[in-house]
Symmetry: C2
Subunit: 211 residues, 2 copies
């Protein structure tokens, strides 16, 4: 038997999915800044949601809500809350969504976490509101991670944007306070000059620590 | 030309990646509760990190840190902070990681967001600490979403656990306060009886709203 190589083999050897799929989902995928006119249909959105809906969340809480901005009126209500740099591309995207956390996800727990009937009580009441919001934001963010990869699996590009006023969006779209906006997301086929230069990534030594 | 079908076509038709890959990454993937003895190597971890490292984060902040618990001593320091239900499987998993958010991610911004040299200042100083922690937790959670899918792409199962005492883990492993634990993650090949029954998922109408 020969000794294992002293340097790591190419990463591809260690992955179970073929390179073209991994490129589409991860490696060459990019945040798009322009889009073609091709519509993104409700059927496509449902296929993507079906794909990612089994992704794990704490207590199976699934707090992500996807608010599709389909009408011109709704889009005009959204645009003023985006930073200037994000307004033109969001005005032109085939589909825009507000990704939000449901801070009352616990209402669904008897249905989605039925083996622990007391789970809803862990999050009930005014004194649990902060804990509930923390959990909602964290688990919805996990689901946004799954969603971005799922959008790419549909051959579409995602354009997630943190550059907006969340308080303004919440007041405009979610006045009862139940949903909290986390990101605004443009979805479509990438258009001309859709990509900026790739920004530098941290090194393994920055990310991975071993104890 | 015929009219489009009145009902949505099967979801697979709307997705660009072949079904076997989507099953592995999303559909039939499960949170594993038992693992085989097969080790998870540093090369595999690096391949997974390479795969997901281009995933988008706000300001390219990349706050996720992966602390691999390799030594028996480190594992024994971790176990008491897990809820009872999570201790035996974590003791037996081939690899355990603490996934944490770097609350001082802004130190890296001059390197990873070089076109906006002022970005580090947006997050500097004691009065930005809360904002920084919120951003670190949210963007690290996005990256955990990418990571869980990336682990599956390597043919491995991920077992994310929220059932632990984060203050206890932080005091034990991150006493200087810079990193904050978000999840504990078991990684390996699934073992016997690795799966519980799939829990119910929310419906499209629960998740998707249209304006």
């Amino acid at each position: 038997m020969t000794a294992p190589p002293a340097t790591a083999p190419p990463a591809q050897d260690l992955l179970a999915i073929k390179a073209a799929a991994l490129d589409l989902l991860f490696r060459t995928a990019r945040t798009a800044n322009t889009f073609t006119d091709e519509p993104v249909t409700d059927e496509q959105v449902r296929a993507i949601v079906d794909l990612i809906r089994n992704g794990p969340t704490a207590f199976n809480s699934q707090p992500l809500r996807i608010v599709l901005i389909r009408s011109p009126e709704a889009r005009q209500r959204l645009l003023p809350h985006l930073i200037k740099d994000n307004q033109a591309k969001t005005d032109a995207a085939p589909l825009v969504a507000i990704l939000a956390a449901d801070t009352e996800f616990h209402e669904h727990l008897p249905r989605v976490f039925p083996h622990k009937p007391q789970a809803k009580d862990w999050f009930s009441g005014a004194d649990a509101a902060n804990h509930r919001e923390t959990q909602a934001r964290f688990n919805a963010a996990l689901q946004i991670g799954y969603l971005i990869i799922g959008i790419r699996a549909a051959g579409l590009a995602a354009g997630p944007m943190a550059g907006f006023d969340p308080d303004g969006v919440d007041a405009e779209f979610f006045p009862d306070g139940r949903l909290r906006s986390l990101l605004v997301l443009n979805i479509g086929r990438p258009g001309p000059d859709a990509w900026r230069d790739r920004l530098p990534r941290l090194s393994h030594d920055d990310i991975i620590h071993t104890l």
